[in-house]
Every structure is written in structure tokens, then in C-alpha cells.
Amino acid sequence: KNLKSQPGSQPSASYLQSAAAAAAYHHSQPAAGAAAAAAAAAAAAAAHAGYPSGYQQTHHAGYPASRTRSRECLAANPRRRRCRLAKSAAPELLAGSRASRKANPSPGLGFELERVFVWDLDETIILFHSLLGGTYATRFGKSLIFRLADAHLFFNDLEECDQVHIDDVSSDDNGQDLAGYDFANDARDGRGMRGGVEWMRKLAYRYRRIKDVYNAYRNNVGGLLDPVKREEWHQVRQETEQFTDSWLTLALKSLSIIANRSACVNVLVTNTQLVPALGKILVFGLAPVFSVENVYSATKIGKESCFERIASRYGRKPTYVAIGDSHDEEAAAKSLNWPFWRVQNHNDLAALSYALDMGYL
């Protein structure tokens, strides 16, 4: 609130937000804490201050050239590979990124996690292939997701830089204030350098900005879209529900019950790349029930490794439940002795929400 009232002086808005978010890693419900409330306010302030207006205009200007250069750079960059090896512990396990050590950490929320529900995305929560076929929703839905990911989530820059988790490069971040940062033009001064540190830092900035955007707009995706795209978005949502017989609404029932419990958490493990996955989550209104730190992409390491990371992160105390439609999830769950809830039709989703409602799960 203080930050919002003084638009001129926002010393460390996004800094504080990412710090608070970092400190909230091992808490299941960031939204429940005062720290997260402050984080959301800070993120909103940052967004209103420098973000959409200034950014969008310069966004497309420098892209094509910088994009090619970045690809070459990344492919040849030995530091990137070295970095990956050095970061053997998943960053979300650390108490916080370098940034958070500078800011005041938020106090612990004090409750113990009892259940971790690990969801698959495609064909479990969102149906694309099975029912939608060649409808408006499919064509425009996918296009909307990728356009949003390009416009707001640096998908063009990051397409070749697959991360499993939003914090995987956070150790390269230096916590610099990103309020006025020029993402479009930072390519011009140094991305071509082979030193690598610069590039990693810029990568880290992008992921931090993605987190800011996600947290700022998770309950107001319309705010990210211009009126034309907003109309498209409404149509996509409406048609999706119509053609899938309200599948998403049914899935959201269970997701919401879990999200509203302080001792339970929703985690997502998807075979989509991280950035487009976040785009999908935003477009389909799933952001309120999934924290950005609870989204994992299994494209590079597979579902089983993701599940193992999640198990390391939350420890032995909670009971884990995997929810999915395919053998992938089932096999991964079995390898960790996690119970598996198969979702292949509406009844499976209805039974899940009934079991949750009755307190059986």
C-alpha cells in the first residue's frame, strides 16, 4: 500500500515481491499470508508503474535480431551448462534466492502441510485434443495462449531456455529493481558476450518478471489483454466449456476445495514447456488455484524426476496424491508409492470433488 501511494519512489517493488515470493516457497498457501498480500500489492504497483505501457511498445522492436543471437549464444555457452550442474539442489528448496537475503524475510505461516495434490494439465484439467477438435476454441485458444506468452512472458526469448521451475535460474539474479528495466533492448548490450554471467542474469530477470506478472494478474487475466483479445478470450472460454460439457468447471471444483484448505496444496506437473504452461494456466483461469512456484514442466526431466523434486521439497510428512489421465503420471506415481486418481471422464472428476467434499481425501 505504501509503495502504491508513492509512485515516484518505488525503491524495490519487484525486488520485495520476488523476495517475499521466494520466502513463501515452502509455504503451501502464499495467498494466505500477509507476506504474499504485500507481494501482490508490490507486484501490482510495479506493473502499473513501468510495465505494460512502456514495455509493450519497445517489445517488438529489437526482437528478431536479438533472438537469433541469443540462440547461438545459449547453444555455445558453456557457463549455462556449468550452471545447470552446479545447481544440483532444486532452488525452491533453498530458504530464498540471493534477493531475498537482502530483503526482510516473511515470517513462517506456522501450519503443517498434510496433502499435496499433484495434477497433470493437458487432458486432465484442460481438454484440447479429445473433445475440441477443430473448433474456434482450439484454434483461437492455442493462438491466444502463445500470443499472451510472447507478449507478456518472454516466450520468444525463453523458448530455447527450458526451465523446469520458475526459480531454477534465481541464483543468478542480483535482486536489481526491474521497475524501469528495458527488456527489449538489453539484447543490444551484452547478450552476445561469451562471459555468460550477463546472459544468466538477464534470464533470471525475465523469470522474475514472469513471476511478477503472474502474481499481479492471476485473478484478473483480462487486465493483460487489449479489448479485442479480451473478447477472443471470453469466446474461447465459453466455447471450451460448451464443447467439453463444463469439464474445466468440474475440475475447478476439486482444485478450489484443495486451494481453500490451509493444510493442502495444488501442484502442477505438465509436459508443456514452463512458459506456455503458465500462459495456459492464466488463459483458463487456473492461476488462482496454482501458485507460480507450484508449477513444474516435465519436458526436460520427465514426470518421475519432477515428482521426486516435489517430494524433496515438501518432505515425508504430507501424503501425496497424483491426479492424471495417462500412464505417464500413473507410472511416476507408482514409482514413489503415491496413490493415483485416474481422470478419464466427467464421473472421475465428480467423484474426486465428492471425495474431497466428504473429507475422504
Binding site: R115, R261, P339, A351, L361
Partner: protein, 248 residues
């Protein structure tokens, strides 16, 4: 505890072998059945076997014994469902753990829990033997104290039940009614009780003498005793032949 409405314990149906419970329990049951039906439209909610197994697994892993019990009792009496290994394992684990944690179930739930406990053990025994168990082949399985009031049973009947049966037998009322009344208040089926009476009657000489002396009947002297004994024997013979013909 998670938020969620409490589901009352209930038995959805009584399968043939256990006898129908006494009057009050029946009324409670009916009320609870109606409540259960009102929860789901057109009957109770149906989980698939796999879903039941998943819930059992989750509740076992989290050690939620009471929630597991509540869930299991909410399931319909379906043999197919209950033969699922996970479900049986869950039930046995539930009771074992309950025993370990010295959590005692209420006496009115003992019968059902003992049934589950024994069923789980019989299925294990069947697996070991590789063939189904007969009525006689069931192993003597020790019951955990959490679901058992400690009373010994011999030949499937508790001492309490036998006393009740003896008292009824001594009454000069039509035997069939008395048999039914004795049977209703206890575990064994009326068929079992009737057989018990038959067996007692077939050792009649000993029995009526005992019954007479127990009641301290005014018959008194040896002569009267002998006379009543022979009369009883005749009555018993005719009755046993009747029931032998009728009951089969």
C-alpha cells in the same frame, strides 16, 4: 480435520447370514438410510473400485484411522468391491493400527468390525490354501481388544447366549417363538439357534433334569421328577420329529 459434513455410521443393507438387529437399531438404520439417499440424487454416490482403493491408500498413508473407518462404512455392501485387495488390506490395517494405538471402537460397532477383521483373515487363509474355506474350515482368529469385549466363544456361541437360550428352553412356551427371540438379541442366525435347541433336545434326558433342577420346580420328589421327565421326553420326541419334518 478437514472441513466437510460428517457422515453418520450406518449399515446400508443386512446380508442374509447375520441376524436382523433388535428393534431400535432397525429404526435408526432406516433413518440413516434415508439420509444417505438424500445426499446423492437417485441413490448413493458410486466410486469405482480403483477410486475406493485410492482413498483407502491415501487414508492409510496419512494414518487417518477414523476417517478410513467412516469411509469404509459408507461403502455399499458389494462383494465385488470388498474383495478388492486394497480394500481388504485397508480394513485389516485400520483395525491393526487401531489396536496398536489403543483406540477402542464403541461396542455397538464391534460386530461389524469383527466381521471385517475375520473376513480379512479368511481371505488370507484362502489364498494360502488355494481354495475356498468351508463353514468348518475357518481358522480361529484372535480378535484385537479394540473391537472385542473379551468374552470367549465356544462352538460359535457366547456363554451369555447359551444362558439366554437355556432360560428360553425352560419356559413352557411354543419353542419356535422363544428360539426366535433368543436368536434376535444375539449374533447367531435363527437357524443356528434352532439347531442348538435341536441338539440340546436330542440329549434330552440330561437336559430336562437340569432344567427342572435349575428352576427348582415344585415337582419335587423323585417320582414327580421321573414322571415329568418321561413326559418331557415324549413331548421332546414329538417336537423334534415335527421340527425334523418341517424344518429339515
Amino acid at each position: 480435520e478437514f472441513a466437510g459434513p460428517a457422515v453418520p455410521y450406518h449399515h446400508q443393507q443386512q446380508p442374509p447370514p447375520p441376524p436382523p438387529p433388535p428393534q431400535q437399531q432397525q429404526q435408526q438404520q432406516q433413518q440413516q438410510q434415508q439420509h444417505q439417499l438424500s445426499l446423492g440424487s437417485g441413490g448413493s454416490f458410486g466410486f469405482t473400485q480403483e477410486q475406493v482403493a485410492c482413498v483407502c491408500e491415501v487414508l492409510q498413508q496419512s494414518g487417518s484411522v477414523d476417517r478410513l473407518a467412516r469411509f469404509l462404512w459408507s461403502l455399499p455392501q458389494c462383494d465385488q468391491l470388498h474383495k478388492n485387495e486394497s480394500v481388504i488390506k485397508a480394513k485389516a490395517m485400520e483395525l491393526y493400527r487401531a489396536g496398536g494405538k489403543s483406540y477402542s471402537f464403541a461396542p455397538q460397532n464391534h460386530a461389524r468390525l469383527q466381521e471385517l477383521w475375520l473376513k480379512a483373515h479368511y481371505i488370507e487363509a484362502e489364498k494360502l490354501r488355494g481354495r475356498p474355506l468351508g463353514a468348518v474350515g475357518k481358522p480361529e482368529v484372535p480378535l484385537p481388544r479394540t473391537i472385542w469385549d473379551g468374552e470367549e466363544t465356544s462352538y460359535c456361541f457366547k456363554e451369555k447366549q447359551k444362558c439366554a437360550a437355556r432360560v428360553v428352553h425352560a419356559q413352557p412356551l411354543p419353542v419356535t417363538k422363544g428360539e426366535a427371540r433368543a436368536g434376535r438379541g444375539n449374533r447367531p442366525h435363527t437357524t443356528q439357534v434352532s439347531n442348538w435347541f435341536k441338539n440340546r433336545r436330542s440329549g434330552t434326558g440330561r437336559v430336562t433334569r437340569d432344567a427342572g433342577s435349575m428352576l427348582g420346580s415344585g415337582g419335587g420328589g423323585v417320582g414327580g421328577g421321573l414322571a415329568s421327565m418321561s413326559a418331557d421326553m415324549k413331548r421332546a420326541d414329538s417336537r423334534s420329529s415335527e421340527s425334523g419334518g418341517g424344518g429339515g
